[in-house]
């Protein structure tokens, strides 16, 4: 239980409260019209926003697993670099598709 308060409880709290705020931010700005998904450049930003959320969630989860010895610490940078590569590839692809 003590370990839980140092590992997954803060993780759940962070992404629970943080997640509510994050998705509320998207909903409010879309409803307000300032985040206009009909505009090409804004569509690309939706991908960036969602990726960012998953990126940080994965970062914290991987680091917690590494600290607990469940995965090797070297797995953390490998997975994150893989995610960054996917992000760059998809962003560039979206740029081309949206331009066309």
């Amino acid at each position: 239980m003590e370990l839980f308060s140092h590992t997954w409880l803060p993780f759940i709290y962070l992404y629970g409260f943080g997640g509510i705020l994050f998705f509320l931010g998207i909903i409010i700005t879309v409803k307000a019209g300032s985040f206009d998904l009909n505009r090409i450049t804004h569509k690309k930003w939706m991908w960036v926003l969602l990726f960012g959320f998953v990126w940080y969630l994965m970062m914290h989860a991987l680091m917690t697993w590494a600290a607990l010895g469940i995965i090797s610490v070297y797995t953390v940078p490998i997975v994150l670099l893989g995610m960054a590569a996917v992000f760059i590839a998809v962003t560039l692809m979206l740029k081309r598709i949206l331009k066309a």
């Binding site: 308060s5 943080g18 931010g25 700005t29 985040f35 970062m59 914290h60």
Partner: protein, 698 residues
Amino acid sequence: MQTFHNIGTSTDWIVMVVYFMVIMLFGSYFGRYTKNTSDFFFGGRRFSWWLITMSIVATGVGSHSFVKYSAKGFEHGISSSMTYLNDWFFIPFFMFGWLPIIVYSKVRSIPEYFEKRFSPSARFLATILLLLYMIGYIGIGFLTLGKAVIPMLPEAFTIFGITLPVTLMGAIIVIAIITGIYITFGGQTAVIFTDLLQGFILLFAGMLLFFFGITYLGGFDIFWNLLPMEWKLPLADFNQPSNFNFVGIFWQDAIAGSIGFLFMNQGLIMRFMACKNVNEGRKAAAVNILFILPISAIVVGNAGWVGKAISVASPHIVSPTVSPDQIFVVVANIIASPGMFGFIMAALTAALMSTVDTLINATAAIFINDVYRPVRLFLKRMTVSDIERDRKELRAARYASIGVTAFGVLAVLAFKNFPTVYEAHGYFHSTLTPPLVVGIFLGVFWKRFTPAAVITTFVGGVALMILGARYPGILIAPFDHGIEMNQAHPYSYIRALYNTLACSVAAVLVTITTRLQVKIISIIRKGQNKKIIMNAIIGLSIVLFFVVLLNISNIYIQCLSTAYILILVPLAVTYFVKYDETINTNGLTAGSINIARRLFKGDEPNDLVGEKVIVHFKQVEGDENVVHFSNEEMTTMKAKTGDLVYLSDKRKWMGGLKSIHSVFGSPHNQTGTVYITPSQFKHGLFVEGKLLDAEKEM
């Protein structure tokens, strides 16, 4: 607790002096591009995202980070820099709410937004709160700088037989003088370019230190295995100990701190305002938070982690009792060779100066925009000539920078008694950010939020916060999530939750009772004694605020006074402030961004996606407000006469330093050439014979 002096060699000092001279020369070179107050404060709104991203690194990372995160890294491990990884939650609000509003509404400072959105009285109160916040931030910066250099200095200097002890405040005053001189003559362009260089150097120096640390310990596996399991976890324990717990830091940093940093740090806002357009600002924010901040988290905390590993393996080399705020310097000295240690220390102190410079520049901007100009306007001393006015403002801005530096040094006194810089900064954030954070946030995202509500947030919210600070065991304890109350510094972090809630409750209650306030005021207006009644309400509100502020009487009377403040202040504001929701929110809320864009352009925005073009330029006399492209290029850019255009030197690495914003004039037939006036040529700092990039903005 073990403290140090005289760390480092003469080689290190030589390296540090050379580094500072190079940085100052670099900044001075770009300082020559400062021609008016717009350049001095905003860098002329022309820079590319990558330049702003790197310059934000030096502002964010430099800000007391090395010292405070290394300290917590030594005490608690990798979770020390968890605050670097929690800024993403508010990014939708920032990218699609606040950022476009500040750019399109052309506000020059945050208090100016409050005047446009609410009233001049809201601006006045916001100016006071923001100046307190900024000066406090400068104070924290100076405190960190002092703590960083003290271990390198001897305990005393002897000059002409007189022994002068080296004290923290003495070191800070000398640092403040050097910092003040630099910012006074540089301006924002100089700061941006100096920060660009320092951003790269900082990341390099921090990673170099980590590499040296790992090498010193014998490899990454040894380092990792030496750390106790708790030190490897990325997040702190949920609610203990009281000086470093997850939930307190979440509310203090991820909520109040992130909104504070993104929404009300005038220094950061000015960086985004220096971007060439809103989309570049979004890119700068996204790249910085997604990729640079995780690297920065390693850069700023690793000295503490390495220090902990050394203290486990060799406690005689790094004692577990080393003063946490000195661990960065101690570890750097152990693992880096002479000269290299000087370089790392120079990078650290120069970056800290960079942060302080940015804040001083930003605070001076607030002073000019929200104090100097309104006062001159009130005294009817506005000079006729724009050039003359700008010259005077630039001079006033430089004097303001000196004044702000002096107040920043005085602010150190409020923070120097905290055990570590981390706690001082946490307490500062928790205490000073909530009223403005709530005011900005609800102002942008809630159209119904009224001047009465924002002013009550500033007055009544602050009264509630004072009560919380005075009676933490009663008022903050219900929100403490099980955190033990430290009697010396009660609830340094979790007080952010109480303070934010207190301000939010005041704001929401007043907003939803707007009709009732209007009804009461309309009854008062019909009476014959309306002026007497309203003056009595204002007088009573002031007296009640001082009852709370000066701790007069007991808790019950003070709580009752606060309740009356929450009732009386909205009535006074409703009576005196003229406010039309439709007019005052136009272009100033997230729901009216399209109106803001239209107002910014002066016409309907053209969102057709065109292509960039590369052109030669030709100087011709004509209208200073427009540039003329050929029909063919206008078609490629999908632009029409009256649209906004951004012209920059084709050399991408210049990052927009040589550029202008203008408007498409009537087209001509000379394909491949844009006609600009000699004045535009001069303002854009263009070079004869060099090609220009052109893109339609909207």
